[in-house]
Amino acid sequence: MLKVSDLEVSFDGNAVLNGLSLEIKEGETVGIIGPNGCGKTTFFNCVSGFVSAFAGKIVFKEKEIQTLSPSERANLGLGRVFQNFGIFREMSLLENLLLAIEGNRKGASKKELKEVANDYLKDIGLQSKINSKAGSLSGGQMRLLEIIRTLAFGAELFLLDEPTAGVSPKMKDDVAGIIKKLQQAGKTVLIIEHDINFIQKFCSRIIVFNEGVVVLDDTPEKVRNNQQLKEIYFGQSA
């Protein structure tokens, strides 16, 4: 589904990604962890097209995409969920969903579009707030809305950047629930997360970044017990 080879990105001469390579298969749910500044979000920005790589190759669904614009990548099925909530706060929940669904349902009436939007909102228990401003939602609800909006848009690969950031502990279960729904729907999911306990619930693999390269790529259990991970995070030696 996604193959990244030798990706290099730098800002003002400081290398952030140093020849990063990884491969994600269709239907996989993979976690990405690593210390702050290791290049996790830059990697997502690069795959989404918001940051240009000066070297390397990104292949998504058998197609090289590094020269495509972010909107072209999105239309290919690349879905992005932002760390700082990518919802449109000034718009209602209905309008947020309309932005996702009206493009691939050309010719549908207003009523039909509203019904589709309502069905998606039902999935996350927010149908009663369909006309409320998205900015009035809690952090967890905003995250659910953003994920369901990305699903409604028709994304096949989900790039979730710290989906539990700004979410209350109670709502974390709801976020976990919707990620499981994505898995059941056969979607491919990549999750950046600091909370290893959270991602090991649904990830078959965890990839560890450090200084812009992949240093570990294994099952959650093996990564958890890996001495190198402790060294990266705590600077401990064996």
């Binding site: 097209g49 918001f50 972010p70 999105a74 932002f82 700082n84 449109f88 718009m91 848009f153």
Partner: protein, 298 residues
């Protein structure tokens, strides 16, 4: 009440009615780019000037009829907008404002210095009012009717643009461009189209203004005029469709009340400008936290 009706139906009331129609077209069209798209577009009056001069030249030099002149004004303003958009819409926020301001200055300089065509500061006199189906538009009441029809058509058009898919996409990119892109929106194209539509309507307003005044010169399209239209949009709440109606009425009619005060006519112009500047300052100060919200970024 009878005094009010008398004012509305007087020559003075009709004159104000025509101005309100023209400024409503200008305000609603600027509201699309500046209000919904948060593009600090300072070239709006330049687009209006291009439309006005196109009508003035085509009607006086080539005797083209009203419909051709109106259409040509809109098309020419649109073409300039596309050319300007290709260059300046690559710029973000403040830089876009500077780019459009520079364009306005260039248009102003061309109008003053290209004397063979524009007659420079002397302006173009004798722009003939249209005559359609035997209706004499030299009668201001008839011209008000024409202005009302065009204004209403423009408002209906902008209503559907704002409330529809395009308006939603424009609001989305204004709030969080990367999130709009991640929903497949080609934000550069959306911005270009909004700038084009806005400028076409400004060209129409310019054409109408030229016909109404029968005479135009570069001073009619100065930065002061730009600030005046910007004041309407800011007072009406950027992005609000109905707010433009209330603000246009308020901003045009309030300074007119100065006429009824005992102020020398030599000070009246300055007093109006002070009043407009005061209103703009107060609204910007009052709404300073919500008027220009920061765009979120990844």
């Amino acid at each position: 009440m009878s005094a009010l009706i008398e004012i509305i139906t007087s020559d003075y009331g009709i004159h104000l009615g025509i101005l309100i129609c023209i400024y409503l077209i200008l305000a609603q069209s600027l509201n699309l780019t500046f209000g919904l798209g948060r593009l600090f577009n300072l070239a709006h009056i330049a687009s209006c000037a291009i439309g006005a001069y196109a009508t003035a030249l085509l009607s006086t030099e080539f005797n083209y009829n009203f419909f051709i002149c109106l259409l040509a004004s809109m098309v020419i303003s649109g073409i300039f907008a596309v050319a300007l958009g290709v260059i300046s819409l690559r710029l973000k926020t403040d830089y876009f404002a500077i780019g459009t301001l520079a364009f306005s200055s260039v248009v102003g300089a061309v109008l003053i210095n290209w004397r063979e065509v524009t007659r420079g500061v002397l302006g173009i006199p004798g722009i003939p009012r249209p005559e359609i189906s035997g209706i004499d538009f030299y009668q201001n009441i008839n011209f008000l009717g024409l202005s009302l029809v065009l204004m209403l058509l423009v408002q209906v058009f902008f209503y559907f643009i704002q409330k529809g898919r395009f308006g939603r996409s424009l609001r989305a990119l204004a709030e969080y461009e990367e999130a709009a892109m991640s929903l497949g929106r080609n934000t550069a194209r959306i911005r270009n189209i909004s700038f084009f539509i806005s400028s076409v309507a400004a060209g129409m307003a310019g054409s109408l203004l030229a016909y109404y005044l029968n005479y135009i010169d570069p001073s009619s399209f100065s930065l002061t005029e730009m600030v005046f239209v910007l004041t309407i949009v800011i007072v009406g709440r950027p992005g609000s469709f109905w707010g433009m109606f209330a603000a246009t009425l308020f901003i045009i009619l309030l300074p007119e009340s100065l006429r009824f005060l005992d102020i020398s006519s030599s000070y009246l112009g300055q007093a109006r400008q002070f009043l407009n500047a005061g209103i703009l300052f107060l609204v910007v100060y009052w709404k300073r936290n919500s008027l220009f919200p920061e765009q979120r970024q990844v």
